[in-house]
Amino acid sequence: VRAYGISISFVCESCGGIIEAGERGGARLAHAAKKGFDGSGLVFPLGSRGTFDDIEWEVIGCMRRKDVDWKFYWDEYLLFNPYEGFRFLINSNGHFALATMRASLPDLRGSASAPLVDGVDFKLYHRGVSVVVEVVGEFYWRVKIGERTGYADHIAPPLCFTLEVPNFDKDSIDPQHEMNYSLVSYIERAEVCEAFGISSSSLSQSQSGVFPFQPNHYKRAAPLMWLWFVVAAFTLFFLQVSLVANCESYGLLNVARDISPTERDQEITLGEVTLTKPLQNIEIRSHAPVSNSWVEVEYELESLTGDESAWISQPIEYYFGRDSDGAWSEGSQSTTSLGGPLSAKTYKVLATVDAQSFLAGNPTPLTVSIRADVPVYGNLAICIFLLLIPPVLVSLMSSKFERDRWAESDFSPYDD
């Protein structure tokens, strides 16, 4: 006996017989031996100790209960500390929770399905009837195998407020019936292992499903991720604005000339450009009046000192026609490309041209425009798109978690 003078029911680990303490001393065998819990098979054996919130608790009893209608089982370990009283460690589907009996009343505000407890709003999750199927150890009340308890779970993750009606043998809760209240707090498996000093492999049952009041970590993370997104997006936006404001976007070269077939695949010098900023990009815009044909231009900007160069390849193709779906077109007569960065030097602009018209011996007109230090907006859009991915993913996962949580409830807010 671990809580003598307090416990009144004692269930033998070996034979399952229940002995009850009498009101004026003595004891009686209240329930004949019945094969019950195999005490050695308990996740937390009787007498084992665990520490939660700096309070050490000893396992003195365990009760397996079953929901009469939904047929699911859970274990309730009775924990004792002579200074602090009792707690219940609940193990269901590999999830854990710690329950504390409450003496104070909940604020029902006229609605039993939405109690307010210590300023926290709870939502009704499940109403049912449980039955005790197995017991072992000692208890401060008279345990009975087969005892039915009406219960209603109200959740506000990671908390659950449970209302219980002991000795429940009716179809509905009688308002004149005695009620017990408890506040239950979800505990992560790692915390339970740490509390009892065991490894997670000792918890034989693996965790399955989402527990009714399991905290939704995605929900907690999502606002923070959105905040980061907003901060990062604004930072990038202002960075972009300042970069654009500093762009001089100056023109360097405008050339228009016909390229003859004899110049095919020859290096043609278009001119020279002088870059004045320490570092800048360059933009080359090429225009050729192609029509159901193509031109391909390879540009090379080579510094006069020969130590720096950049290559830009530009295919220009434009095709159009009409088919059963109507008119269609593809490509463009103009192409713009970015290159660089290049440092402040003078560069020779070389072009190597190939064109479909050369095959027929015809020249191709080519207009080239080169600018330096032009503003770029595409990078901002790509960055914002990439930054959006984590918060959107986390928000979607949070929503799925909540739907999974309520999937087993008759009171789901997601039901139409």
């Binding site: 003078g5 200074y83 602090e84 003496a103 401060y140 004149q176």
Partner: protein
């Protein structure tokens, strides 16, 4: 022993208080709402489904009170002695009979709503130390426990024979709240 004007009378003997796993003992001390108290007596109660202790307290400000200890739940209670209060309580609870079920009966005391959570017939099985009045062993009482939305609570005791009423008001407290010391040694355990 009963204290009288001119000395003490022996009224009988009581059982030794059966050993139980409580950390309190006569001589334990603590604090409640900033006032120091000492434990000076104890009544051990029993009912059909369990036991509890009522520890008699003497406060440094001259008040007497009780520390109720039941299944690890603690409450500090003070007796309400004013006839007006008892009349109000008796009327509000409709104590037309001395013994009965008051479950879920409501009462307002100083604008606080209390609801009856539990009614049971209990008797004192042992006593020790100094107690405020003569208590006969195995004398039955109807105990009515009431709770509020906050931590306030009320306990009423009715003598099923003569119908006399005693009412105690107070609040639930935690072990830590009371900052108790001079506690009983409990092997293998240490207070937080």
């Amino acid at each position: 022993l009963i204290r009288k004007d001119d000395g003490y009378d022996t009224t009988g003997h009581t059982s030794l208080v059966a050993d139980d796993y409580t950390p309190y003992q006569i001589g334990s001390e603590g604090w409640y709402q900033g006032v120091h108290f000492g434990v000076i007596g104890r009544v051990r109660m029993a009912w059909s489904d369990g036991f509890w202790n009522e520890w008699h307290l003497f406060f440094d400000d001259g008040r007497f009170g009780w520390l109720a200890e039941a299944q690890g739940q603690l409450a500090i209670l003070f007796e309400e002695r004013s006839p007006e209060f008892l009349d109000y309580f008796r009327e509000a609870m409709k104590f037309s009979k001395s013994k009965g079920c008051f479950l879920n009966t409501e009462i307002f005391i100083e604008q606080i709503e209390y609801i009856c959570r539990d009614t049971k017939v209990a008797s004192c099985i042992a006593l020790e130390g100094e107690l405020p009045q003569f208590i006969r062993q195995h004398e039955q009482r109807v105990c009515v426990d009431m709770s509020s939305l906050m931590s306030r609570c009320v306990t009423a005791e009715i003598d099923p024979v003569c119908g006399s009423l005693r009412v105690f008001t107070g609040e639930y407290v935690s072990f830590k709240d009371l900052r108790t010391y001079n506690l009983r040694e409990l092997e293998g355990w240490r207070p937080r």
